[in-house]
């Protein structure tokens, strides 16, 4: 809309050059569109009624137009546009004379019916072609147990996937349009009464205020509306799983859907949630907790291992246990580079492998992995480019980085290594600590939709800790996350849930 306004202003100033580009009336518009081969524009002459029909054959549903629209035009009952409206069994027909509306609707698959070719007075019949992918199994966030459905590109299908899981009237879908040219549909979904008003307003405001020409994907949206655009950390989770999205909505979060993107954006989020796989909710809490801790350890290991190797081998030889010295020195002695160069070579090699694997078709990609992992790894050790020990460390840390359930966070984790390695080469362990301090300061300042990003660690909130590094049993998760400041914080009554489960017991065998 903004685009039109601006352009109109421009038009006033410079009408001559703009004349051909922007239709001033329907005739002009139709002439412009006629240039396209898939634009159908013809005069219908019936027994009692004749009209001009125009549509994009590539956008409309062929079957429906021949079954539900055209046959009726031959009917005797029809004498005017209003008659069509009464008789054609299609909902939401639009009677308009607004040129702008005619144009936008034509472009999304409406049929335009006019009495005269140049008349602004028109009827728009929706016959949108919904062609897209079938709902398929999730590819990125796979799970062994639990639902397999994943979002598709069509936003309406995605909304239906969510709505099926939240059968209450409070589930609200707000539609916004983003992109001056693309005018992409963006849907803000939340459960009214549970989601925090302030969060909704902030999210809505941020999306509305976007100054952009086109919007392709949720990932782009998440970068555009993030709190700190300079941060390497993603602050919103994007997921392709409707069940995960729904769980977020029930907690009081907001899900943002973008037309054309098979992902939902869950906002706001905390750092810890990026390391929680949705599978954690399907296994018993002991193992869920163990896996979460394992993943957090994997993150720490992935970021720090090669940097620690560089620091210890370059500066702090005293730290190495004497029994390990021999192994380290023998494997290092043939390597002509300093530990940092050695580490960088391997890290970059691993990044290359990953990137090549991601770009290649699946089957070739697998071969790449094997070739890279076995052949290059062994060969580089034998050629004396890197040491055995480092090869193990780097491979392990790459593996560890891939345990992160969220792909974007995984990428961040993998790239965080490089500043750490450089810092380790400058000041050893002190450098690592300084670098670490910097990132901690950064995370402390980071917010997700105005909410602290590293909550529940700081600010410390014990209620939220129940479902963060550790997962308490369901019966203990009585409250929704505090950091969302939900409208209705309580999920269920703890005492009642205990009573129903029959856990209360007076004595043994009673």
């Amino acid at each position: 809309m903004l685009w039109f306004k601006k352009e109109k202003e421009k038009e006033k100033i410079n009408t001559d050059t703009r004349k051909t580009d922007h239709p001033k009336n329907v005739r002009h518009l139709l002439n412009q569109l006629k240039r396209n081969p898939d634009f159908v524009h013809y005069k219908h002459v019936g027994g009692s009624f004749s009209c001009w029909i125009s549509f994009f054959s590539s956008l409309i549903n062929d079957e429906s137009i021949h079954r539900d629209v055209l046959p009726f035009l031959y009917s005797d009952k029809i004498r005017s546009l209003d008659d069509i409206r009464k008789n054609v069994p299609i909902e939401k027909m639009i009677r308009t004379s607004d040129l702008k509306e005619i144009q936008t609707k034509l472009m999304v698959g409406f049929i335009l019916i006019q009495i005269r070719e140049n008349s602004n007075n028109a009827l728009l019949i929706p016959s949108v072609l919904r062609e897209g992918r079938q709902i398929e199994k999730s590819e990125v966030e796979t799970s062994i147990i639990g639902a397999k459905e994943a979002f598709v590109e069509a936003i309406d299908t995605n909304i239906s996937l969510i709505r099926k899981r939240i059968p209450i009237p409070q589930f609200t879908v707000e539609e916004l349009r983003v992109g001056k040219i693309s005018n992409t549909r963006v849907c803000l979904t939340y459960i009214d009464g549970i989601a925090n008003e302030e969060n909704i307003n902030t999210a809505r405001q941020r999306i509305k205020d976007l100054e952009i020409d086109h919007l392709i994907d949720t990932s782009a949206l998440s970068q555009l509306i993030s709190d700190n655009a300079r941060s390497p950390f993603p602050v919103f989770i994007d997921t392709e799983r409707p069940d995960r999205t729904t769980a977020g909505l029930y907690e009081g979060k907001i899900a943002v859907l973008v037309d054309g993107s098979p992902n939902a954006l869950i906002i706001p989020t905390t750092l810890v949630e990026f390391f929680n796989a949705f599978d954690d909710y399907f296994v018993v809490w002991h193992f869920a907790t163990a896996y979460r801790l394992l993943r957090l350890f994997a993150v720490a290991f992935s970021v720090l291992s090669s940097a620690t190797y560089v620091a210890v081998l370059s500066f702090h030889y005293q730290l190495v246990p004497t029994d390990l010295l021999g192994a380290l020195i023998t494997s290092r002695s043939v390597v002509p580079f300093s530990p940092m160069v050695e580490a960088l070579i391997l890290e970059i090699m691993i990044e290359l492998l990953r990137e090549a694997g991601a770009r290649l078709p699946t089957k070739v990609g697998q071969t790449m992995g094997i070739v890279g992992g076995i052949v290059i790894g062994t060969a580089s050790v034998q050629a004396g480019l890197t040491s055995n020990v480092l090869l193990i460390l780097v491979a392990m840390s790459a593996l560890a980085a891939f345990t992160t359930p969220n792909y974007k966070m995984g990428t961040t984790i993998r790239f965080l290594r490089f500043p750490f390695i450089v810092a380790a080469n400058i000041w050893g362990l002190l450098g690592i600590t300084v670098c670490f301090t910097f990132f901690v300061c950064h995370l402390l300042r980071l917010t997700s939709l105005g909410r602290p990003f590293i909550e529940p660690i700081y600010p410390l909130r014990l209620i939220d800790l129940k479902d963060s590094f550790i997962r308490f049993p369901y019966s203990h998760q009585t409250e929704r996350p505090m950091f969302l400041r939900p409208g209705d914080p309580s999920r269920f009554d703890y005492k009642r849930s205990k009573k129903r489960a029959g856990i209360q017991q007076n004595d043994i065998d009673e």
Binding site: F315, L319, P321, L324, L429, V434, T437, C441, P459
Partner: protein
């Protein structure tokens, strides 16, 4: 000038007082206090350490009364209090002294840490480079406001406390008989140790500056007391550990006994824990330094009234880097520490009660006027 009310989004929950006070008191001083405490009272060193800790509780009580009494008159902090008590000119002069003191404390902490790194790990680490990088990071942090600073206090509390627990590793090597015979010394010895321990406990007085940033400040009192008790217990346990682990003669030769503690600790992958310990100790320095610079830059804004805090901050950091480079040996550091301990003692144990008394007099005067 300054906005009298702090926005609620910038305030922090009162339980953070515990972390702030705990981490302000645990600093570079902790690494070396065991020798200083035992200097005069040998095996009874834990007693004066405990006494000093107890005295901080009393002073804290006075500080809280002082701040709470100030409520009807304006912002509850030292800067505006000075101005109200003594007029703008004298008040501002006192404010300058206060921020100069805070500045020196932060500076000496930083410089002492660099010194430790120089002695133990990197003899060639240049103070200029380190203070520069360190300042850049702290600048980034302080720009996040008081909430971010509190966050770093909390996190360092989490990191540093386990580091102190590691010292219990050494309990197997202890000689409990070193503590006997108990309480054998003269009161004068205890008094000397008491006085020498004061610099270690300093830092909790910063509550005079950040008090308005606390939500429900009345609750903060109990958390503050809890924090003080916690640090006192840390100091007392470490003091006892030092006494039983070292013989008195050996303790006198150790400048940083805690680091020697760490030297004897081995982990499967880290043969020498002291390197890790010392480097992690930077986390004891970060929060106190950040709060120090925050106080100083805020003070500059309060005094001048027109310099924005963010510009004052840069100035403070430049000054820090400059001084860090100028001070170049341990003698100078010790000299500054020596004088600072006097100033700290005077500030806490003489000036604070005096302020409290002065406030009471002003109140009396005002009431008389009203009558």
């Amino acid at each position: 000038m300054t906005s009298p009310k702090i926005n609620e989004t910038q305030q922090v929950s009162p339980k953070n007082t515990m972390f702030i006070i705990g981490m302000m008191q645990i600093g570079v001083g902790l690494l070396s206090f065991q020798r200083i405490a035992a200097l005069n009272s040998a095996q009874d060193a834990w007693f004066p350490v405990l006494l000093t800790g107890a005295s901080t509780l009393i002073i804290m009580g006075v500080i809280f009364r002082l701040l709470e009494n100030e409520k009807p008159y304006g912002t509850q902090e030292l800067f505006s209090m000075h101005k109200r008590f003594f007029g703008t000119i004298v008040g501002n002069a006192l404010n300058v002294v206060a921020i100069a003191y805070q500045f020196m404390v932060g500076l000496v902490f930083l410089r002492a840490y660099i010194e430790i790194i120089n002695v133990w790990i990197f003899p060639k680490l240049s103070p200029l480079a380190f203070s520069f990088i360190f300042s850049v990071i702290i600048w980034y942090l302080v720009m996040g406001g008081f909430r971010a600073i509190t966050g770093i206090f909390y996190l360092s509390f989490i990191y540093i406390l386990p580091l102190n627990l590691v010292d219990f590793y050494l309990i197997g090597d202890s000689h409990l008989s070193n503590l006997l015979p108990m309480l054998e010394h003269m009161p004068y010895d205890y008094l000397q140790s008491f006085f020498k321990m004061i610099p270690c406990y300093l830092g909790f007085e910063t509550i005079l500056f950040y008090y308005p940033f606390l939500k429900r400040p009345k609750e903060a009192k109990q958390w503050a007391m809890f924090g003080l008790t916690l640090t006192t217990s840390v100091y007392v346990t470490l003091c006892i550990l030092g006494t039983v682990y070292f013989s008195h003669g050996e303790l006198m030769t150790q400048v940083w006994p805690i680091i020697s503690f760490w030297k004897s600790i081995h982990f499967p992958l880290f043969d020498r824990f002291e390197y890790l310990g010392m480097i992690l100790w930077i986390w004891a320095l970060i929060p106190s330094f950040a709060l120090g610079t925050w106080v100083v830059s805020r003070g500059i804004r309060e005094i001048t009234g027109y310099i924005k805090q963010k510009y004052a901050l840069i100035f403070v950091f430049l000054l820090n880097i400059l001084f860090c480079t100028i001070i170049h040996n341990r003698l100078q550091i010790n000299l500054i520490l020596h004088y600072l301990s006097y100033v700290g003692f005077g500030f806490l144990y003489i000036y604070i009660p005096f302020l409290f008394f002065w406030q009471w007099i002003l109140k009396k005067k005002r009431r008389r006027k009203h009558v």
